[in-house]
């Protein structure tokens, strides 16, 4: 497969909840390549979470197609990171992180532990937290652990539904940075749903505004994912911000 071939292609995707007159997702098109972070913005209730649920297979499309061009034989090609983390309170952090191993005993335990250590340092977590329980962690740590938990399944595409919105500003910034780094280094792809234009501009390679069940407007932000340090505060950044904001404003105000 060539580098520029898409990892995910969505064609003419339609979905409505039973009994609803208007389609929540209406002829939606999208294709995502490895190394990309695609951001989706839009008014509350416009169907962003629904799109992620469809991609993750939690909902079945009414029509249209969602195709993952994952590596052959891969079981978990999609990871989903929710706004509220799904860490089991009765398991330690290590127990939570080793879930992928528990579900697939054919994995090598020591390899899994090595991978876990790698991710811990990538997300600046001390391995002392492994013996702690989720209730003993801060919000930022929990969200990091939950990201690592889904990375342990070695997915190629990560879906993120407002993952950083409950965090304080500085924690959010460093997590954004770490996440971009991860996508770049491990050559993953990500679809990030967010309400935060700044986040979309600083993290995204592309951003979309969802409206009327489609990705109505597309913004090309940069060629590939890069670190955040040098993007914020530039004229380029401000330009994208203004563009997206003016578009979003008109859509939200109806």
């Amino acid at each position: 497969m060539s580098v520029s071939a898409p990892l995910l292609t969505i064609d003419n995707l339609c979905f409505d909840f039973d009994g609803q007159t208007e389609k929540t997702v209406n002829a939606l098109e999208l294709s995502v390549k490895k190394g990309e972070i695609v951001c989706i913005l839009g008014a509350s209730g416009c169907g962003k979470t629904t799109v992620l649920n469809l991609i993750a297979g939690l909902l079945k499309p009414k029509s249209g197609s969602i195709n993952m061009h994952a590596e052959a034989g891969k079981k978990n090609s999609i990871g989903y990171i929710f706004q509220s983390d799904p860490l089991f309170p009765w398991r330690t952090v290590e127990g939570n992180l080793m879930l992928a191993f528990d579900l697939n005993k054919s994995l090598d335990r020591n390899r899994a532990k090595e991978t876990m250590q790698q991710y811990l340092s990538m997300f600046h977590l001390n391995s002392q937290i492994l013996t702690k329980y989720p209730t003993q962690l801060s919000g930022g740590m929990r969200q990091r652990v939950s990201i690592i938990q889904s990375l342990m399944f070695d997915p190629e595409l990560l879906l993120l539904d407002e993952p950083f919105s409950a965090l304080d500003y500085y924690t959010k910034l460093s997590l954004e940075e770490e996440f971009c780094q991860l996508v770049k280094e491990k050559n993953k792809a990500a679809i990030l749903v967010t309400h935060d234009i700044e986040e979309a501009v600083s993290m995204g390679t592309r951003a979309f505004i969802m409206s009327g069940g489609k990705l109505a407007r597309e913004f090309h932000i940069k060629q590939e994912t890069q670190g955040l340090d040098n993007t914020r505060g530039t004229e380029e950044f401000a330009k994208h911000y203004r563009e997206i904001w003016s578009e979003l404003k008109t859509i939200i105000s109806g």
Binding site: N76, F88, L103
Partner: protein
């Protein structure tokens, strides 16, 4: 400073625990003191103490306790285990759960007292009929509680397992069971009393051993003191068993208290 203040407070609280009992015993004592008629009806702390002493020394109390505890614990273990397995397993099938719901409700609402004579005629007057009664008293609570536990598993956990491609069995084992444990423990706490009651009712109706038998026999002889001694033994047993459950709870729920 603060810690010593809290220790003092805890100490004061400890002192308060026996207070209601002390007051009760004192009132009882002064109410019955020197009044033969009242002592006949209400007995008295002194007489109950004597009865306790007498039945302990003769071994009567301990043997009867042993019988009752064996019956209650056996019925409790059977009822709670089988009930929890059924209740959790109902998670597998909404249809089966719906069909069995009225039956479980029926089982839960039938007074065990009404069933006791029938059960005794089936299982005989030995220990088995009492175990059966303790089982019947506990199984429905265990089913209902653990089914509710299984159904109230947090959505995000189930979503995680679904995205991870977990099998239904994996989801059951890794998510449904551990997150329902607190419900099963609650069922256990309720069931201690119910199991004792079941066993006791069986003994009360027909038996030659156990605290129920001892109490029936004593009340037939208007020996209120021995009746109270039996009741006290029942209370102590219930408290001890509850303590055991609480220890188990503390172990299993350690993540809650860290």
């Amino acid at each position: 400073m603060e810690t010593s203040a809290t220790t003092k407070l805890v100490f004061a609280q400890r002192l308060l625990y026996p207070l209601p009992m002390v007051v009760f015993v004192l009132v009882w004592h002064f109410f019955t003191q020197g009044n033969k008629e009242r002592q006949f009806i209400f007995s008295s702390p002194e007489k109950v103490w004597e009865a306790l002493e007498r039945t302990i020394i003769s071994g009567e109390l301990l043997t009867n306790c042993q019988v009752t505890v064996t019956e209650a614990v056996a019925g409790f273990l059977l009822g709670t285990t089988i009930g929890a397995i059924i209740g959790l397993a109902l998670w597998y099938s909404k249809l089966v759960a719906q069909i069995s719901k009225p039956y479980i409700t029926a089982l839960a609402t039938v007074p065990i007292f009404a069933l006791a004579p029938v059960v005794i005629s089936w299982f005989g007057i030995d220990i088995y009929s009492k175990i059966a009664l303790a089982f019947l008293s506990t199984v429905s609570v265990a089913i209902v509680q653990s089914y509710q536990g299984a159904m109230s598993v947090e959505k995000r956990f189930l979503r995680l397992m679904q995205v991870a491609g977990a099998t239904r069995w994996q989801t059951f084992r890794l998510v449904v069971v551990p997150s329902s444990i607190i419900w099963v423990l609650n069922a256990m706490k309720l069931n201690i009393g119910l199991a004792l009651m079941g066993a006791f009712i069986g003994e009360f109706i027909s038996s030659e051993h156990g605290l129920g038998y001892m109490i029936v026999k004593a009340s037939g002889l208007y020996d209120q003191a021995t009746v109270f001694a039996g009741v006290i033994a029942l209370i102590v047993i219930a408290l001890a068993l509850t303590f055991v459950i609480e220890q188990i709870e503390n172990r299993l729920m350690r993540w809650k208290t860290v």
